[in-house]
């Protein structure tokens, strides 16, 4: 539906106004919004829902154009439409357009490294990474049949192994996700990947609504709500395979002088408004700094998963690159059923530095937007933006800087950051260079990292250390109370040599840690007194668990 429509990226001012024009000539965007958003997080809240309930089984038509929650749902996705559209364009550049209508009977389709399928309990196709879902409906039908057959035996299917493939099944509520992979990833890792896909879907639709839809209509075609969002999932899956932050469940920080980082943190700390809970500054999808609402931190910390999904969402769309965006978004690991309201805006012309402000108050757009202005202002005066983008010109850093020839690449995840437990887990790794410039070599390397990770973190037989002299490189994985380290050496390195490299590497990281990591996460308080906080949070209160504690 959305994809069909023409779209012109916003020229000036607020994207919001545009939204209005396009979405609802009659209504005011505000109302339209509210009807949607009110309903959404509050399934038990009454009104329009009743009317739906009143109806005898709704048809697709009803669902689409009756003022039901589902309509609201679609609207809410409408709301995000520009990013979908934007995604189309960027997506088009990223991936061959033919991919979706790939011939699912062709050997080339079978030969794909990894397939991902999402289907409904009714066996209706929702998403397929390659090939169009219609063509795959029979295959997905079989998948569902297998799942339910085994279920009927009071058992649950996990996976199928053949000589060259793993088929992994995950069932989440009304959705079934299947991965068919030739990679070295373990079953657990593939399952994790499928969960990322699932969460990404939630981040757009939330759990409750999905559940509700299928309660209402077993064989509902969810693609109607996800239309255009395939690009987001495609992008996510590509990322998961190539970006260690998903594997390590940690965020990559942009290496910066500690002083600059602290200054920027301070900026965000000042630029606040009620119900603002997270202020995040990213550059090239590397974290610069993130500030959290104190009260929130009391409860729980921002899950890296949620951040990854959020960044993926942003990255998938070029629409964000112009002006300001105000969009509802669910952080499923934080709370699968509620929406936050994300304010997203790039601070520089090159669209490398991006400010993300999360609020619990759907009405606070102007307030939040104002915060951004303050941040922008302050940065201008401090000239920190130049400093930032200056640091961005050059690739973050090469392994050469460690100064040990046999070392090719590494992933380092510190576990001894102060206040670690309430911080975003972080990691660092050098740029891929030397022999790993080609894509297949990178795939190979990350396969190896996946393999190391799966062995050392095996649920049944975890290990402390792995030293693997492999075909084309020598690998070492090492988990201690202080860090988690994965290194890739020349295959000709000797054991003594490797140990020596390791000590040098660790020394180097210690020296650099202030540059590489956020040491002391800044916080702020936007809820002077609980009462106000609760009121401020009222509409979401019922769902958003994090205020319940107050």
């Amino acid at each position: 539906m959305a994809t069909g429509e023409p779209d012109s990226p916003a020229q000036e001012g607020m994207a919001l106004s545009q939204e209005e024009d396009r979405l609802c000539p009659a209504d005011t965007g505000g109302d339209k919004l509210s009807t949607g958003l009110e309903e959404l997080p509050a399934p038990q809240s009454n009104g329009p829902m009743r009317s739906v309930d009143g109806q005898e089984e709704p048809s697709d038509k009803d669902l689409s154009d009756s003022a039901s929650t589902d309509t609201a749902l679609e609207d809410s996705s409408e709301f995000g439409r520009p990013l979908m559209v934007g995604a189309c364009e960027t997506g088009a550049a990223a991936v061959p357009p033919t991919r979706r209508d790939e011939d699912v009977t062709a050997a080339s389709w079978r030969a794909r490294r990894k397939h991902i399928f999402v289907l409904s309990e009714a066996g209706k196709p929702i998403y397929s990474r390659y090939g169009n879902e219609e063509a795959l409906s029979s295959t997905m039908g079989v998948m569902m049949a297998l799942v339910s057959f085994i279920q009927s035996g009071d058992n649950a299917i996990r996976s199928i192994y053949s000589d060259d493939r793993k088929l992994v099944f995950v069932q989440q509520g009304p959705l079934v996700l299947v991965s068919v992979s030739r990679t070295l990833q373990s079953e657990q890792q593939l399952r994790q990947e499928l969960l990322y896909v699932y969460y990404q879907i939630l981040s757009m639709l939330t759990q409750v609504s999905i559940t509700r839809i299928f309660e209402r209509k077993k064989n509902y075609d969810l693609r109607r709500l996800l239309a255009g969002s395939e690009k987001i999932l495609d992008r996510l899956i590509n990322l998961v395979e190539s970006d260690p932050s998903f594997l390590l469940g940690a965020v990559r920080c942009l290496p910066l002088p500690a002083s600059l980082r602290e200054a920027l943190g301070a900026l965000l700390q000042k630029a606040i408004t009620p119900n603002l809970v997270f202020s995040i500054l990213v550059a090239r999808s590397q974290l610069v700094t993130a500030v959290q609402e104190r009260a929130v931190i009391e409860e729980c910390r921002l899950e890296p998963t949620d951040l990854h999904l959020l960044l993926n969402l942003i990255g998938a769309s070029s629409a964000f690159q112009a002006g300001e965006i105000w969009t509802p978004i669910c952080l499923p690991r934080f709370n699968p059923d509620g929406y936050f309201y994300a304010y997203i805006s790039y601070l520089d012309a090159e669209c490398t530095v991006c400010l993300v402000l999360l609020s619990t108050d759907k009405e606070s757009f102007y307030a939040v937007s104002d915060c951004k202005k303050r941040v922008e202002e302050a940065m201008r005066t401090q000239g920190s933006l130049q400093a930032l983008s200056g640091g961005l010109q050059s690739p973050s850093y090469g392994v050469g800087q460690v100064g040990v020839p046999d070392l090719r690449h590494f992933l380092y995840k510190p576990l001894d950051i102060p206040e670690n437990y309430r911080q975003l887990p972080q990691f660092t790794s050098p740029e891929l260079e030397g022999p790993y410039c080609s894509e297949e070599e990178q795939h190979r390397l990350f396969d190896l990292y996946h393999y190391l990770h799966s062995r050392i973190h095996s649920t049944s037989r975890p290990l402390r250390l792995i030293y693997h002299v492999a075909e084309k490189e020598t690998l070492l994985a090492w988990v201690t109370s202080k860090f988690e380290l994965y290194t890739c050496f020349s295959p000709l390195v000797t054991k003594a040599g490797a140990i020596n490299v390791l000590t040098k590497l660790l020394r180097w990281i210690k020296r650099e840690e202030d540059r590489l990591f956020i040491r002391y996460p800044p916080k702020y308080s936007t809820t002077p007194n609980p009462g106000k906080g609760t009121k401020g949070g009222r509409p979401d209160n019922a769902e958003n668990g994090f205020f319940a504690g107050l």
């Binding site: 079989v142 297998l146 057959f149 299917i157 996990r158 053949s162 049944s460 402390r464 054991k495």
Partner: protein, 475 residues
């Protein structure tokens, strides 16, 4: 894995065989004929439709996986409660083995039991190998499925399957399977060149004078010294001998070392030789000379043979003669009179030599490590991990988790055929080393808990120098 909250005593329940069946989809293609597909089903009590359903599932799984790799269909299905292993040893003949995951039974504070399935405990490779061995063992004594049908129709095949697996399935020790079942290797008896040549010439002379003998195999202390059979046939025959036949015939007074002195040989008989199968008493004119039949080279010449196993002290010889020849009592007597004395002498020679070599190498003291060595080229296997492996149990001297780590390393090795080396430190602080060089694999478990990587490497180097310095092992 022992989840928190579980109070009270935990009970470990070992993995167990849930079901085992063999079917051929071609036999009941039409609706309503599904039962015809099933050639064997254990447990037999299972209600008919249940059988059909389970077979159906397997067919579906296989079919489904073919949509992604037509040539490489499913090998195993993992579910919360069990694993199913698929094997197609002959075209369209499928063998399926369903094994229940090990269980931990705990009791909640309020006393109600919690059952926890340990889904990561079974190693696919191990149980797939077990399944393959099931077929090989069946084939050794019954020939191929197809031949059975050609010669006697489905009925005969079903009877044979029933007859064989009814007994064989009870001997599967699923709770104590490990890497060695994957290798299913042959342990060779270490011997000096001269003694080996003596044995060679003994065998040649025997085959000359007992001219109906087609193949001969020679074992000492349950270890192979010579096989006239091809490697794969020998592999499974060896398994049968060492895990089934020999254990049934170890008589107390002769177990262990032979005495090099042959003085105390009983006056009446000139030797210690005796048949392990066939006639019990040669002097009894009524004695039955029935020997088990075996099938070898089934994929080309398809030979059917009588298997005669004859033993003197710790030396055992398998004489295999063409099934068309019925070995008579006279033949057995002749064999006994010719082979018996020579074999007795040979046995004590070997023992003597063996003791000398032992004294030289002084391999008595318990070393700091345990190891498994396997060579895919000649199936040679060497292990200090199993004290002894019988049909019923294999007593391992290392913790099962370590054995599973070995299994993991092994499956990592099978991914690429380049030489590799993997050293890991387990949570228990044991070091486990896996080395793969050409077609050889070596696994070492070291219990120097506070050794470092380099020291461990040194240890392994030492081991290779002492145990394997005569082979090319890349460092």
């Amino acid at each position: 894995m022992a989840a928190a909250g579980g109070a009270g005593p935990e009970k470990q329940v070992a993995p167990a065989l849930l079901s085992f069946f063999i079917y051929n989809p071609r036999l009941g293609p039409r609706e309503g004929e599904e039962e015809k597909k099933i050639l064997f089903y254990h447990p037999n009590e299972v209600e008919k439709n249940e059988k059909i359903r389970n077979v159906g599932l397997c067919e579906a799984i296989v079919q489904f996986t073919r949509t992604f790799s037509p040539s490489k269909p499913a090998k195993s299905l993992h579910t919360q409660k069990n694993r199913q292993f698929f094997n197609e040893p002959e075209e369209n003949f499928w063998m399926v083995m369903v094994v229940r995951n090990p269980i931990i039974e705990k009791y909640h504070k309020d006393g109600k039991p919690i059952i926890e399935y340990q889904e990561e405990e079974l190693l696919d490779k191990v149980y797939s190998s077990i399944l393959q061995q099931c077929y090989s063992m069946y084939k050794l004594f019954n020939g191929t499925f197809l031949k059975a049908i050609e010669n006697g129709g489905i009925r005969v095949l079903k009877e044979r399957l029933e007859k064989f697996f009814h007994r064989y399935l009870q001997t599967l020790h699923l709770q104590s399977c490990d890497l060695l079942d994957v290798f299913c290797g042959i342990s060779f008896f270490p011997l000096d060149k001269m003694t080996y040549l003596k044995i060679q010439s003994f065998i040649n002379k025997m085959e000359e004078s007992l001219n109906i003998v087609k193949y001969t195999a020679f074992l000492y202390n349950d270890q192979l010294i010579w096989s006239g059979l091809e490697q794969d046939d020998m592999r499974i025959l060896y398994k049968y001998l060492t895990t089934s036949l020999f254990p049934r015939h170890t008589e107390p007074e002769l177990t262990g070392r032979d005495s090099p002195i042959r003085a105390e040989m009983p006056g009446n008989l000139q030797h210690y030789g005796r048949f392990l199968n066939g006639p019990l008493n040669l002097n009894d004119p009524e004695a039955k000379c029935r020997f088990p039949k075996i099938f070898v080279n089934t994929n080309d010449t398809y030979e059917e043979l009588h298997l005669i196993v004859y033993k003197a002290m710790s030396a055992a010889v398998c004489f295999m003669i063409d099934a068309s020849m019925q070995p008579t009592l006279d033949f057995c007597r002749k064999l006994d009179s010719i082979v018996g004395p020579q074999l007795t002498v040979l046995a004590s020679d070997i023992c003597e030599q063996y003791n000398i070599n032992k004294r030289i190498s002084g391999s008595e003291k318990e070393p700091q490590f345990k190891f498994i060595y396997f060579n895919h080229m000649n199936l040679a296997e060497k292990s200090t991990i199993h004290m002894r492996k019988t049909a019923s149990v294999s007593l391992t001297s290392v913790h099962p988790d370590l054995m599973k780590i070995l299994g993991d390393i092994n499956s990592d090795f099978t991914r690429v055929d380049e030489d590799e080396e993997i050293i890991v430190k387990a949570m228990s602080d044991y070091w486990v080393v896996g080395k793969k060089s050409d077609q050889r694999e070596l696994y070492v478990i070291l219990n120097q808990k506070n050794a470092n990587l380099i020291e461990v490497n040194e240890e392994v180097k030492k081991l290779c120098a002492t145990q394997f310095n005569n082979i090319f092992f890349l460092d």
